[in-house]
Subunit: 186 residues, 2 copies
Amino acid sequence: MLKHGILGLLNYSDMTGYDIKTVFNDSLKYFWQAQTSQIYRELQVLEKNGWIKSTHVEQSGRPDKNVLSITEEGKKELKRWLTDDSESSTIRNPILMKTFFRGECGLDENIEFFRNLAERECVFPEGSNEADSIQSEYKKNIDNPMKALYWKFTSDFGMMYDKMLRKWCKNCISELEALKNENTLD
Amino acid sequence: MLKHGILGLLNYSDMTGYDIKTVFNDSLKYFWQAQTSQIYRELQVLEKNGWIKSTHVEQSGRPDKNVLSITEEGKKELKRWLTDDSESSTIRNPILMKTFFRGECGLDENIEFFRNLAERECVFPEGSNEADSIQSEYKKNIDNPMKALYWKFTSDFGMMYDKMLRKWCKNCISELEALKNENTLD
DNA sequence: TGGGTCATGTAACCTGTTACATGATTAG
DNA sequence: CTAATCATGTAACAGGTTACATGACCCA
């Protein structure tokens, strides 16, 4: 998956490993993260596969760099991946794993858990301007409307997810508080 | 995370590796999946950590088994994990990764993509009775109301997620169709 | 007699995380 | 003078996937 993410970025423009890392840790970090070490390792594989090629560029006043660019083979592979609907994503939700076993803890403790959860697990936490900066970034790209639109779709997803998460936490809290009141009445 | 999931299950009752695998691939599979190979490997680590212990049980008519049970140390570790709010989950959403680069494909192709996406990526696909079977499973456990309630919370999440996903797909399709009509009018 | 369930695992590989290592330039 | 930015990586480990391997019992 990361391989194809890198390929997608290089299809937009040539980049260094460092550039790729920056994009992942700024623009894409709300749906994918990647460490430098992993990126440089994947770049080696991509080059071995013939999907990208590397050009050494000397610079003065800053370190030399290896500029990566996508090859025709790489473009073909990117297209193949995009149109391959057979791979369904594996689900892995750490929030639900913890929730599932929360019966071990007390009611008040769990109410507190759900109160904190929403803000801690939101894609665009309240007060951060990430959603805004993405919006302005894709508005800069309206000369390339197709590109910008799909960026917007991904940030729309993030915002809808956050809304849902907050609602779910609120519901859980309500049910726990109802239970608490029942117990008090006994 | 899987380590603690296993620990949580063994806190409910003693189990074999095979039992654990069955629970993961039936009851928990809508938020976590685990292969047999991974489970047996993690069990070795859990035992090495002193969090579980294994008892060999001879059986007639079927293979012998190793019954795993949680130790006091293991219970302590489970509690520590449950109340540790410092680890925030890393986000990794394959759907959004593909969506992000979909500008490479044509409008009609992408409308089709979003039409298929919802059903392919739902936690509880339409027509499957997974949501129902979870509901009935936690109703069986109303003698242990605390346990059942948190199970319900996780399946609530799944249903809310599916609803959100369908809505998002619908929105994306609307925007793409609006764009298609604009282009036709030119 | 063939497939499902119970039951245990190993080996190789791929993907992701953490920690380490270096070093010049530039802006505050 | 110090922190950030640009720029490259390696090593070790942890977590996850795919494929293989075995074998008895039971039900249709």
